[in-house]
Symmetry: C2
Subunit: 285 residues, 2 copies
């Protein structure tokens, strides 16, 4: 029987701290502010955006939504980012992905002020993280949440054999950097990997972010592994599930995140926490 | 019997192309320029700097040396970088490592204009590489040279199992990003790694950059592996050698780099080539 990682409960703890810190800033006349840019009408993006807004308001943060039609011009989005970069009331800027094909996601990402880049996607922030530079800079919120989970559950990282399946810029790559900086031995794998199971079977910590329901079964997991499931997928039945076949893997694992209630709540809690961080960091130079 | 990777010969080929490109720029009135900042009197740094200068002149490049005593003030070094950043005749700025302890290497690295950062150490360049962003940006010269070797010797990268031993910002980390971008499955290992041999034994391509003479012996290498040795170490006898015990590993390997004459010549050839790249990129916007 694995220890069930309770991301929901840990997120509540983080959120309580964030709310407290936001209240303290409020006493100094500062309300940390998030601006979300949403293009088009992707249903999942609308749900994520609404959830972020609700939680931000609950935390005592200012939350503004900039909504654009699917055929918005790139110059319009860049113009809004420029205004938000200069707006002293805005501490965190999010451009909700996915963007329509006619918009250049790289140009848009690189236009965000690094010290307001709450998603940690700007090359300057990503480079500092990868180089393990000292100082304050934002880190993508899902990896930040996962590191918090691993710390809370006292999972040893130094010398641990970690396999990350999935190479996205929002999850796999920042996690690789964070775990590498924590002296884990990290392998980054993906669809291109040959003998993937042979690799994942050796992992002390297995992190899966493929977006493919039940991509990892019992045959791919070492007994006693810590299993972190970043997936949020639907089975043909419509049931929400993860990238890991939970029922099959749970008996093998030492610890495992459920879906929902594992990584998801920690991502959004980390976003709120980092918004408050950014408000403090920017004001303290 | 392994194929011996002839880095010297390949470097000559690259240098001939660089010389040709520099001559073509000269016809347009442009002489690509390198500025090297050297602090203190570390003997190895002096040799490296002299070798860079000699080759640069041979390539038809302008090469300036800024030499400071060990106790130079940080502000003086930063002031020189600021001038070089603004100097239109300088395309590539190198701050020779190691720096004395009283200088903050991170602040100094981050002060170099990203489009003159020929060592690829600026977080903005490192972040773009890690994110696999399109467009032109400099990459650290040893990793660039190794990628050229792997391409020249037609080593398949997609799906290959690569182990990199050593996590430095000049070698291991940019290599990880480059190989990850080439769809290899990359593990980054180091002194912290448990069961290192078990890991290296699985590598199709093994890249070693530890600075420890003969760190890798025959028991750590898979039969048929491609072995790239970044080391430049001295045996107690004073003899120059690598991180790999060449005599023991060579019979097992499919291909192997010698030390000297493997990676070393390709590092400096890549530096010259990238200086010409930077001259072209900056002038073409």
């Amino acid at each position: 029987m694995a220890i069930l990682i309770d991301g929901k409960q840990l997120a509540q703890k983080v959120n309580a701290q964030t709310q407290q810190r936001a209240a303290e800033l409020q006493d100094q006349g500062i309300t940390p502010g998030i601006a979300v840019i949403l293009v088009g009408d992707d249903p999942a993006s609308q749900i994520y955006t609404r959830n972020k807004h609700r939680l931000a308001v609950q935390m005592g943060l200012k939350s503004d939504l900039y909504r654009f039609p699917t055929d918005v011009k790139q110059a319009t989005v860049l113009g809004t980012i420029k205004e938000l970069n200069a707006d002293d009331d805005i501490d965190a800027i999010i451009v909700q992905e996915p963007l329509p094909d006619h918009l250049d996601a790289v140009t848009i990402t690189n236009a965000i002020r690094p010290d307001k880049d709450v998603d940690g996607l700007h090359p300057s922030n990503l480079g500092k993280l990868f180089a393990n530079q000292p100082g304050h800079y934002p880190v993508a919120c899902t990896p930040r949440g996962i590191m918090r989970i691993l710390a809370h559950y006292e999972v040893p990282l130094a010398g641990a054999n970690v396999v990350i399946v999935g190479r996205s810029i929002l999850v796999g790559k920042p996690l690789l950097a964070l775990l590498n900086n924590a002296n884990a031995t990290v392998t980054m794998a993906g669809r291109h990997t040959q003998d993937l199971h042979q690799l994942t079977e050796q992992a002390d910590i297995l992190i899966v972010a493929t977006g493919i329901a039940h991509f990892i079964g019992a045959d791919a997991v070492k007994k006693g592994a810590v299993v972190i499931d970043v997936g949020m997928d639907r089975l043909p039945s419509g049931k929400l599930t993860g990238d890991v076949d939970f029922d099959a893997v749970e008996p093998l694992a030492k610890m495992i995140t459920p879906v929902p209630g594992g990584v998801g709540p920690m991502t959004i809690a980390s976003l709120m926490e980092q918004t408050v961080d950014l408000a403090e960091w920017r004001r303290n130079g």
